[in-house]
C-alpha cells in the first residue's frame, strides 16, 4: 500500500494560509517564587554538581504547597487582562467578551473537573463562554492558541484565552527532576487591538513513544535518549521547516525564534541545525532560569520576546509535546504594542530575577508533597 506523505511540500503549500488579521491581543505570565538549585538536587542523589551545566539549567521554579497549575493559570490570565488596559482607547477588554478559554496542562489539579472553568470564574468571564482543558504533553498550550485562532477567524467568538500552565512533575531521583520547573503563560487571541498578528500556523504530528504518564500514575516516564533525535528534533525541525516553506520565508527573515525548551541546550542545537543564530534564540530562552515549564515553556519564551519586541519584528514560535507533535507560528509585531498599558508592567526576566526564594531539597520535597505525611 502506498504511504501517504503529508509532509510532502506540495501538500503543505496547498494548505490554507491563515492570515486574517487574527493575533495576540495581550499576554500575561506567572512564575512561582520558590527556587531550587540544580546542584542541590544533584547533591541529594549523589550526582555530580556539573549536571546543571550539561543541561544548561541553573535552577528551577517550584510551586508552593498551596499553588498548582490552576492558580498559575489564573494569575497569568489576570495579568493578560490587565495588559489590555490601554486597548480600545483606554477602556480595555471586558472579560465577558472572552468566548473561549483553553487551559493546556499535564499537571491538572483534578483528573476530572476543568481548570478552564475555574479560570473563567476567577477572571469573571462566566457564564457565557466555552471552556475546556487540553492535554498534549508540553504543547497543549499552543494547541489552545490554534483553537482560539480558529474560533476568532471564523467569527464564532471575539476573543479567546489560551493558557499553558504546569507544575512540572518528576519522579524524585529521575533525570527529569533537574529540569521540571513551574510556570504559566496566557494569551488573549482576537482580531481587534492585536499587538502581534499570527500570520500563519503549521503543525507536525506523529505517534512517538518518548514520554508518557498513565491515568493513575503520579509521575511521568520517559524513554531516556529516545527523547532527543526521533522526538524533539524531528518534530521541531519538521514543523519549523514546514512553516518556512508554507510562508515562503527563510531563517533570515526572523528577528526572534522561540522553541520548546526541555533544557537550556536543545533550543540552541535545534536552532543551529535549522540555520538560526544564537542571538535570535537568546531572548526567548527562559528554561535556564526557571526550568522546563512544560505546557508553558515555549509560550513563556514568547512572553519574554514580546516584552522587548518592536513593531515590524518577525517572530517564529515552535512548541513541542511528547507523543509527539509541534505547532509552529509566524508572528509580526504591530504598532499597538507601543501604546501605553499594553504589556505587563514588569518584564518576565526582571520578575524572575527579583521574585525568588531558595529552598533546599527537603523544602522542595515538602512543598511538592513528595514526603509521605499523615493528614
Amino acid at each position: 500500500m502506498a504511504k501517504i506523505m503529508k509532509s510532502d511540500a506540495s501538500v503543505r503549500s496547498a494548505s490554507p494560509v491563515i492570515n486574517a488579521g487574527v493575533g495576540i491581543v495581550s499576554y500575561g505570565y506567572f512564575v512561582p517564587r520558590l527556587r531550587i538549585k540544580v546542584s542541590d538536587i544533584a547533591a541529594t542523589w549523589g550526582k555530580d554538581a556539573s549536571v546543571g551545566e550539561s543541561l544548561g539549567v541553573k535552577e528551577k521554579a517550584v510551586g508552593a504547597w498551596d499553588e498548582d497549575s490552576c492558580t498559575f493559570a489564573v494569575e497569568a490570565s489576570r495579568m493578560a487582562l490587565k495588559a489590555t488596559a490601554g486597548a480600545n482607547g483606554g477602556s480595555g477588554i471586558n472579560p465577558q467578551e472572552i468566548g473561549a478559554i483553553y487551559v493546556g496542562s499535564e499537571s491538572k489539579p483534578y483528573a476530572v473537573k476543568p481548570s478552564a472553568a475555574i479560570v473563567a470564574e476567577a477572571i469573571q468571564a462566566t457564564p457565557s463562554l466555552t471552556a475546556a482543558d487540553l492535554e498534549f504533553a508540553c504543547k497543549a498550550g499552543t494547541a489552545g492558541m490554534q483553537m482560539a485562532m480558529g474560533l476568532v477567524s471564523s467569527g464564532m467568538i471575539n476573543y479567546g484565552l489560551a493558557i499553558g500552565s504546569d507544575t512540572a512533575q518528576a519522579q524524585p531521583g529521575d533525570a527529569l527532576e533537574y529540569t521540571a520547573g513551574s510556570g504559566a503563560a496566557a494569551f488573549i487571541i482576537g482580531k481587534k487591538n492585536v499587538i502581534a498578528t499570527i500570520d500563519d500556523t503549521y503543525s507536525f504530528t506523529t505517534d512517538t513513544p518518548d514520554f508518557w504518564r498513565r491515568q493513575h500514575a503520579e509521575f511521568p516516564q520517559h524513554a531516556g535518549r529516545f527523547t532527543g533525535e526521533p522526538a524533539y528534533f524531528k518534530h521541531v525541525q519538521g514543523a519549523t521547516q514546514g512553516i518556512l516553506e508554507k510562508t515562503g520565508t527563510t531563517t533570515k527573515d526572523y528577528d526572534y525564534v522561540v522553541f520548546h525548551q526541555p533544557n537550556g541546550k536543545f533550543p540552541l542545537r535545534v536552532a543551529k541545525s535549522l540555520g538560526f543564530g544564537d542571538e535570535a534564540v537568546k531572548q526567548g530562552l527562559i528554561t535556564p532560569f526557571i526550568g522546563n515549564t512544560y505546557s508553558a515553556a515555549s509560550m513563556i519564551g514568547l512572553v519574554s520576546v514580546l516584552d522587548v519586541a518592536k513593531p515590524g519584528d518577525k517572530i517564529l514560535l515552535c512548541s513541542y509535546g511528547s507523543g509527539s507533535g509541534s505547532d509552529a507560528f509566524v508572528l509580526t509585531v504591530q504598532d499597538e504594542i507601543t501604546k501605553p498599558n499594553r504589556r505587563p508592567s514588569v518584564k518576565l526576566l526582571d520578575y524572575i530575577a527579583k521574585n525568588k526564594k531558595y529552598v533546599d531539597y527537603a523544602g522542595y520535597a515538602k512543598h511538592r508533597k513528595k514526603i509521605k505525611h499523615i493528614e
Partner: protein, 132 residues
C-alpha cells in the same frame, strides 16, 4: 477544619474575586457580603461590588501552631489587610520576605488554594495576599 462543599461553593464568588457589597444609601463598602447594611439597617440599599485587590497591612501575626490541616504551611502570617477602600479583611500573607511583612506595607491579592479535602476531595481556591 474544612468546610462543606455547599459552603465552599457559596463563598466561591466572594473568595475568587473579592465580591462584597456596597450600600447606595451610606456609600459604605462591606466584605464579606452583607444581607442588611450594618449602618443604615433596613433603610440601606445594597448591591454587589468588587473590592479593590490592593491595600496595606493593618496588623499581622505569625502563627506558629497552626490548626489541623495547616501542617504544610505553618508557620504562616495571618494579617488584617486594609483594602484601598478602607474595608478590612482577615487573610494569609504569602510569598513575602519576613522583613517585608510590616504594618503599612502595600499588598495585593493572589489566587491560591485555601483548603483541600484530603488527596481525593475538593480543592477550595481563594485569596491570599502578598507584599508588593
Amino acid at each position: 477544619m474544612t468546610e462543606g462543599i455547599a459552603r465552599i461553593w457559596r463563598n466561591q464568588r466572594d473568595r475568587y474575586n473579592l465580591i462584597g457589597t456596597h450600600c447606595e444609601e451610606c456609600k459604605n463598602d462591606f466584605f464579606p457580603q452583607r444581607k442588611i447594611c450594618p449602618v443604615c439597617r433596613r433603610k440601606g440599599k445594597l448591591k454587589e461590588k468588587q473590592m479593590p485587590t490592593t491595600g496595606k497591612i493593618y496588623s499581622f501575626t505569625l502563627v506558629t501552631g497552626g490548626p489541623v490541616g495547616f501542617d504544610y504551611e505553618t508557620p504562616y502570617y495571618l494579617a488584617i489587610v486594609e483594602l484601598d477602600n478602607k474595608v478590612k479583611i482577615l487573610t494569609q500573607i504569602v510569598d513575602s520576605d519576613d522583613d517585608k511583612v510590616k504594618i503599612g506595607q502595600p499588598v495585593k491579592a493572589m489566587f491560591r488554594r485555601i483548603q483541600t479535602h484530603g488527596e481525593e476531595g475538593l480543592i477550595a481556591y481563594g485569596y491570599k495576599f502578598k507584599v508588593v
